[in-house]
Symmetry: C2
Subunit: 289 residues, 2 copies
């Protein structure tokens, strides 16, 4: 079989990096891309990320064996609708969204049901940077990609998407969509919310102009994710609001407990909490990519 | 003038790194060290971090022109008391604690007043690692060191400590002690509290064994400071409890607002918060060490 032809809808950090990775691995043939922003389309061609960037999604997918939707999660339905009429028979469509139940629901809303040729996926990789200009070929190397197969899933479509990600150097893991959303609410969505809220708090203090110049390396790393794309993270919070708000409520409870410990002078208990947290992080550190 | 003789009380990451940095810069002569833990004393000598590590603080400081207290902040009084009788006339004593009002109060408690020869200091550098085994000569290079002069401060003592830190490649900045404690409650103490509480929340979830293996780079950086020394951070929270609890209350208020936005479907406001936070971080990023 000749190399599959690829179409990437959404030429941002993830879409651009996937195109670069697959090109560099020699895992795909011709690559077309589409983005609603003409500057990203132009840039993607100029940078050699894609071979062509036609001015419609339907034209971008017309010849493709594999179509990757790499848009903020709440744009999934719109992106699928835009390319659907151009899809050739047998084409496999996948996505890279950080929430999986919402994506499957949106696909079902466009197609009536989730079609066998749609594979829901989520690469656990990225940086706080956005845009095709920041895309790199090794973004997924050594990282996990979660695929969440659905009831009507075609096995060949699943195998094709697994092969796609494996070619980037990623490790593919399958998971139930609901489990995926609960797990990533904890490891990824809640920390983004906490980091944004923390930086916003400081930015609104009267003393902010004294504060930021005195931030050190701990601050820089803790807040790195607060430089992530507001549009992308707005979509994720909205698409996964249930699991995220449930966890945020628990986090508020734990922070109220911490405040009570400090106000009540219960220092041994506070230290025990720090020790538990450090031990948990150290125990799992080897597993953290 | 010949090179000053140095004594370091507390042979951990900071004390050990300072000794290495000053040795490597040729800025000090003989270096003695002391730690209440005999293993750290032995290791400091074996690693060449100090020339000698006698088994009392008073013996360690007996010949020293400059004495650095590099212990968890709540051990400042105890460390000063232990070495006070050994101090030679004219010796300058400084510290590296993350809180400055508590240190000055503890020094006053030991000496009756804060003596002219005591200089309160705080290097804005460190890693989540602890112990002399992790000390490195370039830890302070390019970083800030805050000195908080007090009413009775001797100018020569201040100049000697400024010269000490400058020799490590750090940039010395002077600040009022109360201002210092408010600023670092925001940039450092609150984020440590948030990171510990976040990891502890996840570690107590029933689903923790699914959660941690799915953590990515964002999680790793956001939680890095939760691997910091529980003893050191217990001391800091206790020593700076006023400013930290005041900020934690404001953070709780902001997180309750975030929860209300999500539950009320006020998504545009949530996105505006993300945008404000990202803009504030990006605006100040160049200043963050």
């Amino acid at each position: 079989m000749s190399s599959p032809r690829l179409a990437v809808i959404g030429l941002g950090l993830i879409g651009g990096s996937l195109a670069r990775a697959l090109r560099s691995a020699g895992a795909v043939g011709h690559i077309r891309g589409y983005d609603t922003d003409p500057r990203q389309r132009r840039l993607a061609v100029e940078l050699g990320v894609v071979d062509e960037a036609p001015d419609s999604a339907a034209a971008a997918v017309a010849q493709a064996d594999l179509v990757v939707l790499a848009v903020p999660v709440l744009h999934t339905a719109e992106a699928l609708r835009a390319c659907r009429d151009g899809l050739r028979p047998g084409a496999v469509v996948t996505d890279v969204g950080s929430t999986k139940q919402s994506v499957l629901a949106d696909v079902a809303a466009v197609c009536g049901v989730v079609p066998p040729w749609f594979v829901a996926g989520h690469p656990i990789a990225g940086t706080e940077k956005s845009g095709v200009a920041n895309s790199v070929a090794d973004l997924f190397h050594g990282h996990r990609v979660i695929l969440t197969p659905h009831a009507a899933q075609d096995a060949q479509a699943l195998a094709a998407v697994t092969a796609l990600w494996t070619a980037t150097g990623a490790r593919v893991v399958e998971m139930d969509p609901a489990q995926h959303d609960t797990v990533f609410a904890a490891t990824s969505h809640l920390p983004h919310l906490l980091a944004y809220a923390f930086v916003d708090l400081l930015a609104r203090l009267d003393t902010r102009d004294e504060i930021f110049p005195n931030a050190g390396g701990g601050f820089r790393d803790f807040t790195r994710i607060a430089s992530s794309s507001p549009e992308m993270w707005h979509d994720i919070m909205r698409a996964n609001a249930g699991p995220v708000t449930a966890l945020l409520e628990r986090q508020l409870g734990e922070l109220r407990d911490v405040l009570d410990l400090m106000k009540g002078g219960r220092w041994a208990e506070l230290k025990a909490l720090f020790e538990r947290a450090r031990a948990a992080r150290e125990r799992h550190l080897a597993q953290i990519e």
